[in-house]
Amino acid sequence: MSNIAAKAKELLESKAVQVVIGYEAGPTGVVRPAFVTDPAKTDSLIYNENCLQNLAMYLTKHEVKHLGKMGIVATLPVMRSIMMLISEQQVVAENIVVLGISDDGKLLDIADMNVMKAHIEKSNLGNPTKDQEKLAELNKLSLEEKFKFWEQELSKCIKCYACRQSCPMCYCIRCSTDCNQPQWIPVQANTQGNIDWHILRAMHLAGRCISCGECGRACPLNIPCHLLTMQLSDQTYNYFKVHAGTSVDMKSVMSTFEPNDKESFII
């Protein structure tokens, strides 16, 4: 039995939690989220390098919350998401037990949010290397070339909203794109409407995106939409020197003002 399974069993048996959110292997071998409520069934929980989905999105899902106190298998991006969700008052720290996973796949002892904060602080909080490289490549392009790249990518978008739905930070019950008075974003999935949607999504995540890349992974058309939010993570860090999801009481950089804020980006 793996450490995760053993810990999950212990948590469920002691009734410290009512459900453990982790990963299991589906019938085709694909890794997917698992919700274990029975201590006898924790053996299905796995952890390997394919366990990339950001499970934190389930912490705000009605039917999962309904199960009771939640244990959650959490890699660094998940832990940062949890921090963000607590700081945005979407999740109550007391309702969660974090089964932290180190970068090399080991179970961490995350006793409370302070321990988690300490762990996050000593981690690498920039964008994942391969995404940062791709961004650097894109940033070398001219404005026209960049626009062409995104126009081509976003023309594929079918507005299935997998990017939004898979994102722990996109927890709004009614998204701005679903608001129609006024209709900010065209409903249909044409190129212009798609560009509008992805800009809106990225802007709403500026300073909130924790660079997990889940939106890009979720996209059935392989649109690298995570690069948009990651670019903004990078930029907000450059401007404000704050990484999202690093403490439970941080204020969103885009909705707070400090007298010494840089204003160089204001046109």
């Binding site: 589906g26 019938p27 085709t28 694909v30 890794v31 997917r32 989220p33 698992a34 919700f35 989905q53 999105m57 389930y58 899902k61 009605h62 039917e63 999962v64 079918i158 507005k159 299935c160 909203y161 997998a162 939004r164 739905q165 898979s166 019950i173 009614r174 679903d178 065209p186 409903v187 249909q188 999935a189 044409n190 992974r217 979720a218 996209c219 059935p220 058309l221 392989n222």
Partner: protein, 336 residues
């Protein structure tokens, strides 16, 4: 008409393709830069793939585009006018190389769009469509056509069905008058069939759809739905890649006085799909919406439309970000 069996040599296929694409739009599968298979209009023959298991998106957009204009208007308050869509301008399209599952979907869509009053937007596009299908010589773990009463070489929905032989030539089953018109227009490309057999993949049957349908009659309140949809994130990927999902939205878009009304794909998986103006939502949580998706395809449609709402292409499962594997779920449902 009675099926005519012919043989097309590998090299003749290219000639047939160029003959067809010279006079009309041909919609054929190509491999995109990221290795996904997508359909394109009139790609160069060299680009067209014959080795695809499945494209990410279905080809339903040839009859049910993701956005379809329903009318144009000028809003002058007092003197508003409507300009109708000229459906006679819908072009003839040859769909090339789509698999039997996809081709079987037209009957399902017909049972939705033409069950009562006829939706001319759909009907006209279908009328102008010629399907040159390609039987499957490959499949993967997500394919389950045999579980929904089809086979990798079902002829349903194809005007001509091509099946690859060992030597790389193709057996052409000419199935309809539309198909026959194409064959008779290029008689030198269609040879008499020899004894060579087609290579057809094997797709394992994983459930009995009749049993699932029977089970669903009494499964509405079953805890199965909540337990098996906890991981569903409520996106519309499954519905949008599905060849038979036909739910749509109707919206207006105007610039100044000029505008249009269009319909666009929608999904029963979205939380706002059924939300009433009053704030009441008959399907409030995701398990109810997942249940609706399965019920609609495997219970309501067989009951009402006399057609199963699924052709077993497996796209929903391949495209799902959280592996909501439909054939796995149906197997489980069969045994609850």
């Amino acid at each position: 008409m009675e099926t005519i069996k012919k043989l097309i040599r590998k090299q003749s296929l290219e000639k047939l393709y160029s003959t067809l694409s010279a006079s009309r739009k041909v919609y054929a599968p190509v491999v995109a830069a990221d290795k996904r298979v997508e359909y394109k209009y009139n790609p160069a023959y060299a680009e067209v793939t014959f080795e695809h298991i499945q494209s990410t998106l279905s080809v339903k957009n040839v009859v049910f585009p993701k956005v379809e204009n329903l009318m144009y208007y000028t809003n002058n308050k007092v003197d508003s006018t409507i300009t109708d869509i000229d459906l006679t301008k819908i072009p003839e399209v040859v769909l090339w190389g789509s698999h039997p599952c996809d081709n079987s979907a037209y009957d399902v869509l017909k049972s939705i769009f033409c069950w009562d009053i006829k939706d001319e937007f759909f009907a006209k596009r279908l009328e102008k469509l010629v399907v040159i299908g390609l039987a499957c010589h490959q499949s993967d773990a997500y394919c389950f056509c045999t579980s929904v009463g089809l086979t990798p070489n079902s002829t349903k929905g194809s005007d001509i069905l091509l099946s690859k032989t060992k030597s790389g030539d193709y057996i052409a089953e000419i199935l309809t008058e539309k198909g026959n018109a194409i064959a008779t227009a290029s008689p030198d490309l269609f040879e008499n069939a020899n004894n060579e057999e087609a290579v057809i993949t094997e797709v394992k049957q994983t459930f009995y759809h009749e049993q699932v349908t029977e089970k669903l009659k009494t499964a509405f309140e079953h805890p199965f739905w909540v337990a098996n949809s906890l991981r569903c994130i409520g996106c519309g990927a499954c519905a949008y890649v599905c060849p038979t999902c036909a739910c749509f939205d109707i919206q207006d878009e105007a610039k100044g006085k000029e505008g249009r009304r269009y319909r666009s794909w929608d999904s029963c998986g979205f939380g706002l799909f059924t939300l009433h103006t009053s704030g009441h939502n008959p399907r409030e949580v995701q398990s109810q919406r997942w249940r609706q998706r399965i019920m609609h395809k495997f219970s309501y449609m067989p009951d009402r439309n006399k057609s199963l709402g699924c052709v077993g292409c497996g796209r929903c499962s391949r495209g799902c970000p959280v592996d909501m594997n439909i054939s796995e779920q149906l197997q489980a449902l069969q045994n609850i």
